[in-house]
Every structure is written in C-alpha cells, then in structure tokens.
C-alpha cells in the first residue's frame, strides 16, 4: 500500500513539476525554435511549434556578420577574470568578518551592499571620464575591474554567510596545532568551504556574463563581449527576430551548459547559512 501511494504522489509531483518547469522555460524554448525559422516565418500570424521549414541561415548570417568567437572569448575573460579576481579579494575579507566578529561587522556588510545602490545611469559620465583618463576605455582589463567592483559586495556577503556556518572549533584546532593563518586558510578553510566558494564563483560568472550596461558603454571594437554582440542584432530597421533568436541562442547556450553541469553545485552552495 505504501509503495503505491508514494508512486502515485511521485507521478503527480512529476507531472506538476514538468508542467510548471515547461511553462517557465517556454519563452526560451520559443527563442531557440525561432532561431531556426526564416524571418517571414518568425513573424507569421499562424506560428507553429515544429511544422515549418527548419533552416540554418540565421546562424550562417550571424556568424559571417559578427566576430562571434572574439565576443565569446571576451565574455569568458571578463566573466571569469572578474569572478576570480573578486574571489581573491573577497575570501580574505569574508574570512576576517566571519571569524573575527566585531560590533561593526554587520554595518560594514550593509555599507558594502549599499555601494550597489547608485544607479549606473547616474554615474555613467563620471565613470566614462575616469576610464578615458586612465586609458581603460575599450579594454578587457577595464571591464574586469568594473565587474569585480560591482559584484564584490555580493561575493563578500555570500562567502561571509557561508563561512559563518563553519564551526570555529575546526579552525581553532588547526591554530593550536601551530598552523599559520595562511596555512589555516589554505589547508583547512578552503577545502571545507569549497562548495560555497564554487557557487559564489558560478553566480558571479552568470551575473557578469549578462551585465548589459557597462559592457556596452565602456567598450568599442576590442573588448566587446557577447552582450554587445546581441545588441547589434536588436531592433535594426527591418525584420530581425529570427536572427536575434539565433544570436541569443549562441549567447545563452554556453551558460545553459555551464548551468547544467554545475546545478548541484549551485543548489548546494547558495545556502546562506541554512546548511546543517
């Protein structure tokens, strides 16, 4: 009896989950399908899900028109670079805030988050002027710096809540064994905290990958990542939905693949201190 019941509920939940998941995923699925349609088909008044002439012409167009791989490489360098750089800065900060609690810790945390409150549109010109004067316009380095800085508060915060869950005793034990702080961090803390660090890294890669304000303003031909690639297909004069879908597919799919392989990681690491 118990087995039948649990199978029945499993079936119901599976059905529910797939339906809701499907509904949520549908706009993306639709984009992916549209990327294989002709432009005329993409705006047709009787849209179809599968019954149309599948074509690769949009992908061919997009690849011949834009240096996809240059953009792709720039995206990778900028996302990965800023996330790794951010981690290098955030880990020590989070460590000290988590294990050396002072009265000011919480305020410090809130202050860091508040640096994200100045809307980018408001600081556009000042930042542009600063970048111009330092010769950082249209450089990958410049973008890495910006991305690191805008995501640093979140990284520190995530790592902080994760580190707080690690029992102090383990670290103290290693200290009593005579380990230096450096050894303590590298040999004891990092291995335990690896899931949290990994998911912080992943989240920031995703956030940096999709950042579409600074990446468009501060780049020209050399450092433009995939966000600029997509922006070049958006709303020209003339039909563009199929091509935009193809371009979007080429920008989404890498991240989707990354997400697929790392979903367990993401789920485990984003615990915000609720892990046992």
């Amino acid at each position: 009896m118990a087995i039948n019941n649990s199978n029945k509920s499993k079936l119901i939940y599976t059905f529910l989950a797939w339906t809701i998941g499907g509904l949520i995923f549908f706009p993306i699925l639709w984009t992916l399908i549209t990327s294989f349609k002709t432009e005329a088909e993409a705006i047709s008044s009787s849209p179809s899900l599968f019954m149309f002439d599948w074509t690769l012409e949009n992908y061919a167009d997009v690849l011949s028109r834009s240096p996809y791989f240059t953009h792709f490489w720039n995206s990778i360098v900028i996302s990965l670079g800023s996330s790794i750089l951010g981690l290098l800065i955030a880990i020590p900060a989070a460590w000290s805030m988590a294990f050396v609690q002072t009265k000011r810790t919480k305020n410090l945390l809130m202050w860091m988050l508040s640096t994200k409150m100045l809307p980018p549109v408001g600081v556009l010109i000042p930042i542009y002027l600063v970048f111009r004067d330092f010769g950082l316009l249209d450089t990958k380095l410049g973008l890495v710096i910006v991305m690191t800085l805008i995501n640093l508060p979140i990284m520190v915060w995530m790592l902080y809540t994760y580190f707080r869950e690690i029992p102090n005793e383990i670290l103290e034990a290693s200290r009593m064994d005579g380990a230096t702080i450096g050894e303590e961090i590298f040999h004891v803390l990092l291995p335990i905290a690896l899931p949290g660090i990994a998911s912080t890294l992943l989240l920031n890669v995703i956030l940096a990958w999709n950042e579409a304000f600074w990446t468009l303003i501060l780049t020209a031909a050399n450092a433009a990542p995939l966000t600029a690639f997509i922006a070049s297909y958006s709303s020209p004069e003339g039909l563009f939905y199929a091509k935009l879908s193809a371009a979007s597919a080429m920008a989404i799919v890498p991240i989707l693949i990354l997400g697929w392989f790392s979903q367990k990681q993401l789920v485990r690491g984003l615990s915000f201190g609720a892990v046992k």
Binding site: N222, S235, P236, L239
Partner: protein, 436 residues
C-alpha cells in the same frame, strides 16, 4: 650599388612605407541592412587601400547614439568614423566636434548630393558629414484592399482622404486594420511621425521666440486627427508599435495603409519576407493643402570626429562608402534595389535603378519636398523637419512622445496631453535657458 643590394633596399623601403601607412580605423555604425551590406563589401575598400585596416562596432540605433555622443563630447577618441544622423550633424558641427570633409577626392562630385540632404549636413557652408543613405516618409498601401473598397489612391492624397480610405479598408473581425502608424513613445519614434504630420497641419514646435506652441489650434487638430484615425482604423497595441512592429504587421497583411520611412519600400516589396509583396502601392505623404506635406527627412551619414588621429584614412573610407562607385558595387553584388537610396541625384537619373525599385520616384519626390531649414508653414527658429536640432530635443521629444502615446491609449484626452506637453516643454526650455 649591386642589383641585389638595391633590390633589398627597395624591398625594405616598401615594407617600411606600408608599415608606416598601415593603420586601423574604428567604424561605429547602426545595424541597419544597408550598413551591414557596407561592412560585407568593405573588402573592396581594403583591397584598394592596402594600408588601412577596418574595425567595426555595430549597434542598435539608440545605444549607438549614446556611445558615440558620449565619446565625441568627452573626446574619448574611440572611433574614427561615426555613423550619425541629420539630427547630430548641425549640433556637433557647430561645436567643432567634427572634422570638415574637405578631402573626399577628385571624383567624388559633391554637387551630385541631393540639395535637401546636403543642406542638412553643412554648417556655415562647410560639409561635415557625407550621407550614406537618405530617407523621407511616404504612404504605402494595399492595392487589393483599396480596390475592394472601391477607392483609388491619388499620388498626392490629403489627410481627409487617408482617413476615409482607412475606414473603408478596416475589418476588425477579420484582423485587417485600415491604417498602421507609429505609436511608440520616443523622439525618433512617434514624435518623428506626429511632428511631420503637424507640419502639414500648419503647426510648429516653437515660435520665433522659442515659446512652445502645443496649446495652438493646429496642434490640437493634428493630435485629434491622429488619435481619431487610430481609434477608428488602427490595430490594437499601437502604442507600443515602432517601425519594426508596423513592418511586421504590414508584411503579414494586417494593414491597409502604412505611413513610414521610404526605406520600408524595399522591405514590403521583398517576396522573401513579405506576404503582400506584389500588392503594394506608393503615394506621397498626405497634406492639408497648406503647402507642407507630412513627410520627414532623415539621412544616416558618416563623419569624422575631430578627436580622431586618423582623419585621412577615415576620410578615404567615407569617400569610398558614399561614392557613385559604391552604388555600382552594390548593384553588381546585390542588385539595384538594394543600393542605398536618397543621397545622389545621379542614382535617380539611372534608368536601371528606377526600373528595379518601384518606390524610387516617390522617394526622390518626397526627399525633394522636404526642407529642413524651412520645415513649417509659419517661421521657426530651428532646423529639422521631424525634429528640432537642439541638444535638449532628445529628452523633450521623448517626454512629449510619452504624453502623445498616453493620448493614443485613451488614458488622457488630447487636450490633457497637449497641455502637459506644453508645461513640460516650457519647463525644460526654462531649465536650458532659452531663448539663448
């Protein structure tokens, strides 16, 4: 000197000279079809100019404008060739931000450029930008639906006739809407259309003392007409429709009339994309008999920022891209219908082009009737047909566009929309300290 030595010296000198000449120019351009073609065909330029390498930045219009303006105003120096419109050229030329195009080559033939367009690109008789393609606006209509309604579209229709025809062609049950017009809020979207309309209704943005005129009878007539005709015969969702949305509607057979850019002529008659390609007719933009028609004037042009250090190479590129030879090149590779329109008189004297492009004559006529230096019936202190060439216009135009779009959805009456437009423009002019 031995032959070997002189040969080596000769090679060294040649290598040295090409490496000295080899420079890279960065070109910022819009992602419209004609510019994409220019990028495709640019190998022709690099073959003829082996020392110059091209780097491209292609973006959507609004983002491009933001980037390019920021760069030129702060002397960021990131671009050597910029694609800008007839809105920017007068403003930037006056500021001295553009290099005068005085070295376009002997065969360039500046006088071949259409006068209406050329006048929009000269400040104090100096040419600051070369037009890549020009457009006006016109009426596109479905010949089959007009026939069914028992009407014939004149070559120079009136706004009254347009309203009548749109109503006759509307069948909302069947999903056919008599007229599709831009409704999306934006200085380059609905405001471009409605301002041009207003010119033909006798209205103007400002009087000679820079006082906004939105509480005038002429503006009331314009906006009331617009709202009424869209209410009677327009498609739902029109307040979010810009050029592309209306293009999609027209191409899928939903519109009886579409008044928009002349470049659309090539799109709607393209069999590959348009379901109604063989059922399209063209007419001049409508008027009210007051002496100005409701069409606008725009050109995408190529210019060199004065902060660029490679102005010679940049000018060479501009000369190539806007020359007569370029038109022939496009015709060879893509057909005459795809040649960038609206810039040179010689194109319109070419029978091959006129045959391949059924909308060519209307385009030419429309461009020639537009006069950016005298756009309205009554005198005005500004230049620009569908815009006012002052720096504040982008913001003001968009804000007014939002009011008009609210009137279109019925959220405001026409009177309220005009009243709030008047107030906000007055406010903005005060802030910007006009009259200057």
């Amino acid at each position: 000197m031995s032959i070997k030595l002189s040969f080596i010296t000769g090679c060294a000198l040649a290598a040295l000279s090409t490496s000295v000449l080899a420079e890279t120019i960065t070109i910022a351009t819009v992602n419209n079809g004609d510019m994409i073609t220019m990028k495709e065909l640019s190998s022709d330029f690099t073959a003829k100019n082996p020392g110059i390498e091209l780097k491209w930045v292609t973006l959507e219009e609004n983002i491009l404008r933001q980037r390019v303006t920021t760069d030129v105003a702060t002397s960021g120096g990131q671009y050597d060739v910029m694609t800008i419109g007839t809105y920017e050229v007068p403003i930037w030329g006056k500021q001295g931000w553009l290099t005068e195009l005085d070295n376009l080559g002997a065969t360039y033939d500046v006088d071949d450029l259409l006068p209406a367009i050329k006048s929009g690109l000269t400040v104090n008789d100096k040419l600051y930008a070369a037009p890549f393609y020009g457009e006006s606006s016109m009426v596109m209509y479905r010949t089959d639906l007009m026939k069914k309604a028992g009407l014939e579209m004149p070559k120079k229709p009136s706004w009254t006739f347009i309203r009548k025809a749109a109503k006759a062609m509307t069948d909302k049950e069947a999903g056919t809407y008599g007229i599709c017009l831009r409704g999306k809020a934006g200085w380059g979207e609905n405001i471009a259309l409605i301002t041009s309309m207003s010119n033909s209704f006798g209205a103007r943005w400002y009087d000679e003392n820079w006082k906004p005129q939105f509480d005038s009878k002429e503006w009331h007539d314009t906006l009331q007409y617009y709202v009424d005709v869209m209410e009677e015969s327009g498609p739902p969702g029109s307040s979010a429709n810009g050029f592309n949305e209306n293009l999609a509607l027209f191409q899928t057979g939903k519109c009886g009339i579409w008044i928009d850019a002349t470049v659309a002529g090539a799109f709607v008659t393209n069999e590959k994309d348009s379901e109604v390609a063989d059922k399209v007719g063209f007419a001049l933009a409508p008027d009210n008999g007051l002496g100005k028609r409701g069409n606008w004037l725009w050109a995408w042009t190529l210019a060199v920022p004065s902060s660029s250090k490679k102005s010679d190479a940049a000018m060479k590129f501009i000369s190539w891209a806007t020359s007569k030879e370029y038109s022939t090149l496009v015709a060879d590779k893509k057909g005459w219908a795809k040649v960038p329109p609206g810039t040179r008189a010689s194109l319109y004297n070419n029978p091959e082009y006129m045959n391949a492009a059924p909308f060519a004559q209307i385009t030419l006529d429309s461009i020639q009737t537009a006069d950016p230096k005298n756009p309205t019936v009554k005198p005005v202190p500004y230049v620009g047909v569908q815009f006012v060439a002052i720096p504040e216009f982008q913001g003001i135009g968009t804000a007014v566009g939002q009011q008009f779009s609210a009137a279109l959805t019925g959220k405001m009456t026409v009177k309220q929309a005009l009243h709030s437009s008047q107030r906000l423009v007055e406010r903005a002019m005060r802030k910007a300290r006009y009259p200057k």
